[in-house]
């Protein structure tokens, strides 16, 4: 059998013999992607544990298991991990690394060493974040849980005054931001420089378009939040008074600077996810994607307009009415390119030969959950409605539908789609589908009631509530239990797939894009042994069969 990237690798320096060191020093984009996935999902489960703790606490009004202060730390921990450690590196760090170079016929990213460095920067960020969990009390030698209690948004002035470990959390977010910038930079250059001959921008697979638009956001928006966090740190130590009103500063300025990044950041999360959707839908409808250009350009315009809408997080901050109206209008506007994508996906499936394999199930499920997440977002883009709904569970339900039911679900879709590519094996599809149904039902039970509770006024970030909200929280609790069981089952199935799955060949899904035309499965170290000349569109099907075929030298033979 031919050697795969699991058997040999290039290292950042030296030629270590041990497998372990070969992984630690590897510059291979596929291995780095896998390492990101392992670390990210480990943290994901930590954050899920924090969420479950909150759900237990919220089972009944009053105090059950944790006190109010710990609850504040729990949602901060949950939010910080989910956002900064998990979903911002997210799909780009994993599939941007593993799949994007394969899709454009590159041997690696443009700066493989920088990629290695970026991964370790990410790890350093994670370690700093972990170090902010506890304070070591020298007097009695005890570890005291002292994570920040500010919420993941670190709003001033509270974040400047609390004695919890905000400083380390801010530093961690800064370092993770740097890693994100460098990832974006690497991908931008890769996409500009390393496309196979003949592949112009409009012959790229749509996932690459998603990564491309994302990379621009990573590059241009992240520095703003980075410097904001630094200013907050300086303010905390030296009392400059940039954000603290008692010192003459303006707390709303912090909110502006924070959301100038953090709103585009949600597109940074969703655009690659949409990219995954645009890969899966044509592959399992056996039809060329409908409206390729509109999907590609809508990614770009979402990234562009997405810059100008941050003010919708500030409707209750006392911002001027003119500004509110403009931000509200622009926010509605972003819904248009998103809607375009949805119609394109649906139109692709129309008259297609739909194959309900696991990735397709995930994609279809997400069309429902993300539609709810996206449309509920439009409702809170209305200024009047938002005055009532801001900081209620309605908003929380909205973004969990968008983030969990959109990004994470599509991430799972991508995992099931590219699993055979990465490992050369197939998981047990029956079980994987069952896991999907459990997760889908659990998710809706978990979050839908929160729309209603929030609509009736259940505020977010509260550890206690009025008795009338109990029924919603209890349904939500059972939803969480089902959801987490589904998660465990899904990961169990995947791990079994890695260990015992059957070899599946290079193109088990009959897909058309270049990553499915590798010489062997799993791929060899330097990807395609021969790079094809790309004079075809990415998703050409004819009567349900891929049009473009290659011989072993990657010359077209159709």
């Amino acid at each position: 059998m031919s050697k795969s990237y699991f058997d040999e690798t290039h290292c950042a320096f030296g030629h270590p013999k041990s497998t372990f060191m070969q992984w630690m020093l590897t510059v291979d984009h596929k291995r780095i992607g896998i390492m990101y996935a392992v670390v990210m999902f480990t943290f994901f489960f930590v954050a899920v544990a924090a969420a479950l703790t909150m759900r237990f606490e919220l089972f009944a009004p009053g105090q059950q298991f944790i006190d109010a202060h710990t609850f504040n730390q729990a949602f901060t921990l949950h939010g910080v991990i989910m956002v900064f450690l998990f979903i911002i590196p997210g799909i780009p760090a994993v599939f941007g690394n593993i799949v994007m170079p394969l899709m454009i016929g590159a041997k690696d990213v443009s700066f493989p060493r920088l990629n290695w460095f970026t991964f370790w920067l990410y790890i350093i960020g994670c370690i700093v974040a972990l170090s902010s969990l506890f304070n070591f009390n020298i007097a009695d030698g005890k570890l005291v849980f002292n994570f920040a209690d500010t919420g993941w948004t670190f709003y001033a002035p509270y974040s400047l005054n609390t004695d919890t470990n905000v400083v380390t959390a801010l530093v961690a977010a800064f370092i993770l931001g740097m890693a994100s910038i460098l990832t974006g930079l690497n991908f931008l250059v890769t996409i500009h420089r390393l496309r196979a001959p003949g592949m112009d921008f409009f012959k790229m697979p749509l996932f690459v378009w998603g990564i491309y638009a994302t990379a621009w956001i990573q590059l241009l928006a992240t520095p703003v939040v980075g410097i904001t966090l630094i200013l907050a740190l300086l303010e905390k130590y030296f009392g400059i008074g940039i954000f603290d009103p008692s010192k003459g500063g303006d707390p709303v300025l912090f909110q502006h600077l924070f959301w100038i990044y953090s709103h585009p950041a949600v597109y940074l999360m969703i655009l690659p996810a949409f990219g995954i959707m645009s890969e899966i839908i044509p592959a399992f409808s056996r039809r060329e994607i409908f409206g390729y250009h509109t999907i590609a350009l809508s990614s770009a315009s979402i990234a562009g307009v997405g810059y100008l809408v941050w003010g919708h997080h500030l409707f209750t901050s006392g911002m001027s009415d003119t500004a509110k109206t403009i931000f509200s209008f622009l926010t509605f506007f972003v819904a248009i390119p998103t809607g375009v994508k949805f119609y394109d996906w649906v139109a692709t499936m129309y008259k297609g030969k739909i194959v309900l394999a696991t990735p397709m199930l995930w994609a279809l499920g997400t069309m429902i959950t993300f539609a709810i997440g996206g449309l509920s977002g439009v409702t809170i883009a209305m200024i009047g409605a938002d005055i009532h709904l801001q900081d209620t569970y309605y908003t929380i339900a909205h973004f969990h539908y968008a983030m969990l039911g959109g990004v994470v679900f599509l991430f799972f879709a991508g995992i099931h789609y590219w699993f055979p590519l990465v490992f050369g094996k197939m998981y047990n599809e029956t079980r994987a589908k069952l896991a999907f149904y459990i997760l889908f039902i659990g998710f809706n039970l978990l979050w839908f009631p929160m729309f209603i509770a929030g609509y009736y006024g259940m505020p977010r970030r509260y550890f206690d509530y009025l008795p009338e909200f109990q029924i919603y929280h209890q349904i939500s609790f059972w939803g969480a239990i089902i959801f987490v069981s589904g998660l465990i089952f899904m990961f169990y199935t995947l791990i079994q797939g890695i260990r015992k799955g059957k070899p599946c060949g290079v193109n088990p899904w009959n897909a058309t894009t270049l990553e499915w035309h590798l010489p062997s499965s799993p791929p060899p170290l330097e990807n395609h042994t021969k790079v094809p000349y790309v004079d075809f569109r990415p998703y050409e099907y004819y009567h349900g069969q891929p049009v473009v075929k290659f011989d072993e030298n990657m010359k077209r033979i159709d």
Partner: protein, 232 residues
């Protein structure tokens, strides 16, 4: 396996008509290296841009305080530094030209000259900060904290706070620049950077230009807004 970028032979892709096309690899991709560094410069611009925005915002709120605070800065030292940095940009650029024309020795000389100017810049900066410190103007000193008897007005605290933050961050970039130049010299000496393969030299020159460009904005913003104001 070809590890060394110099041995790298690009691959050829053949289209259906039998035409050959060179496949761009990541190895030895000078254009890609430049592109990457330009993008990195863009992030720096965004970072400093955000700080300038904060500054502008507060300038509109505390006009008089800003002008007064600015008038207390030392325009002579700041001016000297501006000139020093300007000349260093020249030497850096000349160094790159010399490298390209094959004069490696001259290029090294110019890099040393740039480093010397950078050190002078830092020295002047240190002197300036020390003087400020003696006058009670420094991050963390009582004058720059609100709510005590020495407190300056809000606007001035903000002005000086941003002044130290931004010139500090700029100074940090100078220090990094010196480090980069030392590394560059090492690479030149070991023959990794040559008149033909000067991408590293190019990028560091680009970096130095940006550092210099930022100063071109920092200087008028902090030092000149209060020029001509009556000392009080």
């Amino acid at each position: 396996m070809a590890h060394d970028s110099h041995e790298y032979i690009p691959e050829i892709a053949v289209d259906r008509n039998g035409n050959e096309h060179v496949v761009q690899g990541w190895q030895g991709d000078n254009y890609g290296g430049k592109l990457g560094f330009w993008l990195f410069m863009l992030t720096e611009v965004m970072m400093f841009g955000a700080m300038f925005m904060v500054l502008t915002y507060y300038f509109t709120l505390h006009h008089a305080d800003f002008i007064k605070a600015s008038s207390e800065l030392d325009r002579t030292l700041g001016g000297i530094n501006t000139v020093v940095l300007l000349i260093s940009a020249l030497t850096m650029g000349l160094g790159l030209l010399k490298m390209r024309s094959g004069d490696v020795k001259g290029a090294k000389l110019m890099i040393w000259a740039t480093m010397l100017l950078a050190v002078i810049f830092l020295g002047v900066k240190a002197l300036e900060w020390t003087n400020d410190y003696k006058e009670g103007i420094f991050l963390g000193l009582q004058g720059l904290q609100s709510g005590n008897e020495f407190s300056k007005p809000f606007g001035e605290i903000l002005f000086f706070g941003m002044y130290f933050t931004m010139t500090g961050l700029h100074g940090f970039h100078i220090i990094i620049g010196i480090g980069l130049m030392l590394w560059l010299l090492k690479r030149i000496n070991s023959g990794k950077v040559t008149p033909e393969h000067n991408i590293l030299h190019f990028n560091i020159a680009l970096y130095w230009d940006l550092v210099h460009l930022i100063w071109v904005f920092v200087f008028p913003y902090f030092y000149m807004t209060g020029a001509g104001a009556i000392h009080g």
